[in-house]
């Protein structure tokens, strides 16, 4: 066979660009993080009466910026650098690379604009509105075409483990993004998911958990598998371990989502599966940690002198810690204490600051001299970054673990007479304030470290040779034919018994010698990854959707009135779910504090669900009817006038901003399409009905001694929604009314509406 040697060079310009924006968006995301941390320590930093910078709107900006802008761009930088070299080819298309880059930055900018404006889908980490979601899908597909195109023209026969992890990322993120963002739009800036209540909760956490798995774990494991052995100049510890932990991780991760919904209205079987698969996920995750740390055998002396390896070692250590803590938190008995507290926040930040952040910093410090073909400007500055960052993480997580445990224990505490020991929610908030200040200090240190890296980047860039060289590499093209190494013949081939042959097959399976062939068949590998992910998903999704008929429906649960629906939009838009849950868990302490435990049937019309994930303020599912309307008016205007020590942002503008009555029919129509039983007449009369309910409420507020002229302001709609929450199950059964009158359903609806007005008053 004649071997044709080909010449080629890598496109590092795209890597330089992605590296730069990783730093820029990283600083932006961390800065917003610092602001929201300050807002929790001192509510004055919400800058009210301005509506754009409240915690509820900035927190999604922080999470989206660090996940999709910082981590996302870092993944692209790492993938574009490593895959060209691992496959011995430049990227498939420079044009696609550039489209990918600019498209992604445009998406980030649009997120940075829309989120502070309150344009949101109201689902965590999936806040971006549907036009942006479509843009994300398009750019992701561009990336995928570029990625698989590059694989197709590779000059390396077999795919290295890093590439497998990248494939898993691309395939799974596509599936997650599409199926969690299926919505019915109501205009450009509004949309409602096709799922409601329990099912929406299930889909959201299937997405939310696996976004962590396949955007913050798998691509970074791929990056670790490339950059760590390169930086340490050591072989990877175990090829077999990488095979086993890759496949088990990909298959098991998908099941674990429901562990975010323990003790909720989610069916118990789903909750159990979520827990058990999370526990099984422990060792597959640790496989990555072991392959990282044990690769450093014989290179530990280098760690002391090389800041890159220092960052990697701490990153992998935090990965190990977080992936032990994840299964721990998924155990129901632990979750009872940790859920809705800062414990989750500490867990996430150990992963984000420690694992993702430090791996990215290590990668950038390793890349800088190579991308700019010169020495790193200052190793000392990189060392300083390392120590600042480490101290920052430790201050952050120690304080926030303490905060989580403190609040969790306070919520569950009973006194010896059987009363809640801390009946007043704000007591449990006030206790956390000092720890929130420590977090601010830790976050500042971490951000300062990142800024030092920026200085190092700038100075390294300035000392680059001009122009930068473009080295040319050589490699033979892949031949069309390839013969795999023969598997060793079974010593039992002719003489072995049946049992011995089975044992031998098993032995070979576990020795994973079969896998080598898959590594040169990217299509097969990709399909197998997709099958693993999709099959695992369907095992949980299908029963969850079939179970709809089994979810006990509650006869008294009716759709929201037009005004309540408009109020719900304000609730979503302000991001109330960032601090308030709407889920009274099946725990006695919760029933004592909030009221009867929440039932699945109560959420039939909730597009999207609003169960929340963190209670910075109290649960709101049973808040309906708890306080008079005037209480809510005063409380939204100035929370601290009603509850001294409250850290809720003030919303004085809601008492002045006119309510958007005109969009009510559009929103109702979207809900009708989703299956909410609004009749066409009701939709046509939506504005009139909303106006009527709003006027009645405004009169009541004045009677109670409150301000006049609220009937056309946002506040009435929001209060109407809040007063409705969780009240349906205590209403009289409508069946009796129907039997007595035997009248048209129109009247029945009218009766229900009167009921709502009464509840609201």
């Amino acid at each position: 066979m004649s071997v044709q040697i080909e010449q080629f060079s890598y496109d590092d310009a795209i890597v330089r660009r992605f590296t730069l924006v990783t730093f820029v968006w990283g600083v932006v995301g961390m800065l917003v993080g610092l602001i929201v941390a300050l807002q929790l320590a001192a509510p004055i930093f919400n800058f009210s009466p301005l509506p754009w910078l409240t915690f509820g709107r900035l927190r999604p900006l922080h999470t989206n910026a660090v996940i999709f802008a910082f981590a996302g761009n870092a993944v692209f930088a790492g993938v574009y650098y490593s895959m060209q070299r691992l496959l011995k080819t430049p990227m498939f298309s420079k044009a696609l690379s550039n489209l990918h880059f600019w498209g992604w930055q445009l998406i980030i900018v649009s997120a940075a604009v829309t989120l502070p404006l309150g344009i949101t889908q109201g689902k965590e980490y999936a806040e971006l509105q549907w036009p942006i979601d479509i843009a994300i899908a398009v750019v992701w597909i561009i990336f995928a075409i570029n990625f698989f195109g590059t694989i197709a023209k590779r000059r390396e026969r077999h795919l290295y483990v890093a590439i497998w992890f990248y494939i898993a990322t691309i395939v799974t993120i596509t599936v997650l993004h599409v199926f969690n963002n299926l919505v019915v739009p109501a205009g450009l800036f509004r949309s409602y998911p096709i799922y409601a209540g329990v099912q929406d909760a299930f889909m959201q956490w299937w997405y939310g958990h696996n976004a962590v798995g396949f955007l913050l774990t798998t691509p970074f494991l791929g990056i670790m598998y490339y950059f760590l052995p390169k930086a340490a100049n050591r072989p990877v510890f175990s090829y077999r371990l990488s095979i086993i932990h890759f496949w088990t991780l990909v298959f098991l991760y998908i099941w674990a989502g429901p562990h975010h919904l323990h003790y909720t209205a989610l069916p118990a079987w789903a909750s159990t599966l979520g827990m058990l698969f999370s526990v099984m996920l422990w060792m597959p995750s640790w496989g990555g940690m072991l392959n990282g740390l044990l690769t450093l055998r014989g290179a530990w002396h280098k760690v002391a002198s090389d800041p890159v390896l220092k960052f990697f070692v701490v990153a992998i250590t935090f990965y190990g810690m977080s992936t032990f803590e994840g299964p721990l938190l998924s155990v129901k008995a632990v979750n009872m204490l940790s859920h809705y507290t800062d414990w989750t926040i500490a867990h996430v930040h150990a992963g984000a600051l420690g694992w993702v952040g430090f791996l990215v910093f290590g990668m950038i410090y390793w890349l800088l001299p190579r991308l700019y073909q010169t020495e790193l400007w200052s190793n000392k500055l990189a060392e300083a970054h390392f120590w600042l960052g480490t101290i920052g993480i430790l201050l952050y997580i120690v304080a926030i673990y303490a905060a989580g445990l403190t609040q969790g224990l306070m919520w569950l505490a009973f006194d010896e007479e059987g009363y809640l020991k801390y009946a007043d929610f704000v007591e449990t908030t006030l206790r956390l304030i000092p720890m929130y200040w420590v977090r601010v200090i830790g976050g500042t240190a971490y951000l300062a470290g990142a800024v030092l890296m920026g200085v190092n980047m700038l100075m390294t860039w300035r000392s680059r040779p001009k122009p930068l060289q473009t080295p040319v590499h050589e490699s033979p093209a892949l031949s069309k034919t390839y013969i795999d190494h023969p598997e060793p013949a079974s010593p039992l081939a002719t003489s072995g018994t049946h049992v011995a042959n089975v044992a031998y097959t098993l032995e070979r399976f576990f020795r994973t010698t079969w896998h080598r062939k898959w590594e040169r068949l990217p299509v097969k590998l990709t399909i197998m990854v997709a099958v693993a992910v999709i099959v695992a998903s369907l095992f949980e999704i299908i029963p969850t959707f079939l179970i709809q008929s089994n979810v006990p429906t509650i006869a008294t649960v009716t759709p929201y009135t037009p005004l309540e629906l408009a109020g719900r939009d304000i609730y979503l838009s302000e991001g109330c779910y960032n601090c308030h849950s709407q889920m009274v868990r099946t725990l006695r302490a919760e029933t004592e504090r909030y009221g009867e435990s929440s039932k699945a049937g109560e959420y039939d019309y909730d597009h999207p669900f609003q169960w929340g994930s963190r209670r910075i303020g109290p649960d709101l599912h049973r808040v309906g009817g708890k306080y008079p309307d005037l209480w809510h008016v005063r409380h939204m205007d100035d929370p601290r006038a009603i509850t001294p020590g409250s850290i809720m942002p003030a919303y004085p503008s809601m008492l002045k901003t006119p309510l958007d009555f005109d969009s009510i029919p559009v929103v109702m129509r979207a809900h009708q399409i989703l299956g909410v039983p609004y009749t066409d007449d009701e939709i046509a009369g939506g504005i009139a009905a909303a106006t009527e309910q709003a006027e009645a409420m405004a009169v009541e507020v004045v009677v109670q001694g409150g301000p006049e002229g609220l009937e056309d302001k946002q506040i009435v709609a929001l209060i109407a929604y809040l007063q409705r929450l969780g009240t349906d199950i205590t209403k009289p059964e409508p069946v009796a009314v129907e039997e007595e009158t035997g009248e048209l359903p129109v009247e029945e609806v009218a009766t229900t509406e009167v009921d709502h007005t009464e509840d609201a008053s």
């Binding site: 490593s82 070299r85 691992l86 011995k88 077999h158 290295y160 490339y226 052995p229 390169k230 072989p235 990877v236 510890f237 175990s238 090829y239 077999r240 371990l241 323990h262 003790y263 118990a268 909750s271 159990t272 058990l276 526990v279 099984m280 422990w282 060792m283 597959p284 640790w286 496989g287 072991l290 044990l294 055998r297 014989g298 530990w300 129901k332 007479e417 059987g418 009363y419 809640l420 009946a423 007043d424 099946t586 006695r588 029933t591 009221g595 435990s597 708890k626 306080y627 008079p628 309307d629 005037l630 209480w631 005063r634 009603i642 509850t643 009541e700 109670q704 001694g705 009464e758 008053s761």
Partner: protein, 225 residues
């Protein structure tokens, strides 16, 4: 991990077998899976069916069953406490004011549930002043108890029997009764008619003296507060 320690003495562990794979200079060892790793993995796998069998099909209690049991136990405890209290009447409520544990509980309930509208010390706010001698819905302890329990929905006063347990209703009513004349700072202007609270009729057992002295104590205690 002991092997690791052992091996870290050598820069190139002799027992490791290097595979022929080479990706941009990266090589891989053919090391087996660490035994402890594999062992724990199998344990977590076998744990799953055992857990399901025990909790979903066996004697283990699921979340909802534990919840129901805890709620039942709490209700029983409350019922026992109520039965021990006897019939609810003016005398009985006056008697509660002597029970420090009940008054303590009542104050806690008041702070948690009532203070947002009636003020921390009953001085009034969104709701009326509870510490003066003007009353909208009756001045007797039984009137207060009824108002707390059934609410005044038209005015935004919640029917607390839906949220508070019987003992809490009694305790908080007694606490409100004890606020009379406490003259808290920032008091809201009086609403309703001025009504004098009538001391309860002596009971059949002849507790006249006790009841009167208790009634007197209300004012003293309240004034101190």
């Amino acid at each position: 991990m002991s092997t690791n320690e052992h091996e870290s003495n050598h820069s190139a562990p002799s027992e490791d077998h290097l595979l022929e794979h080479l990706y941009d200079g990266i090589q891989e060892y053919d090391n087996p899976l660490p035994r402890w790793w594999l062992a724990i993995f199998w344990v977590t796998i076998f744990f799953a069916p055992l857990y399901i069998l025990f909790f979903h099909f066996g004697p283990g209690m699921l979340e909802i069953e534990r919840y129901d049991e805890a709620m039942m136990a709490a209700t029983e405890r409350q019922m026992a406490a109520i039965l021990a209290m006897g019939e609810i009447n003016e005398n009985m409520l006056v008697g509660l004011m002597d029970d420090p544990s009940m008054m303590n509980g009542g104050k806690k309930v008041f702070v948690a549930k009532c203070a947002t509208c009636h003020g921390m010390f009953g001085e009034g706010g969104i709701g009326p002043n509870l510490a003066d001698d003007h009353w909208l819905h009756g001045a007797q302890l039984m009137d207060i108890y009824r108002t707390v329990r059934e609410g005044v929905p038209a005015k935004g006063m919640l029917a607390w029997e839906r949220q508070l347990r019987p003992a809490e209703l009694l305790a908080v009513s007694a606490h409100v009764g004890g606020l009379l004349g406490s003259d808290p700072p920032n008091a809201k202007a009086a609403q309703g008619d001025q009504v004098v609270r009538v001391a309860p009729e002596p009971t059949a057992e002849g507790e006249e003296a006790t009841v009167e002295s208790e009634a007197g104590e209300i004012e003293t205690t309240a004034a101190d507060a």
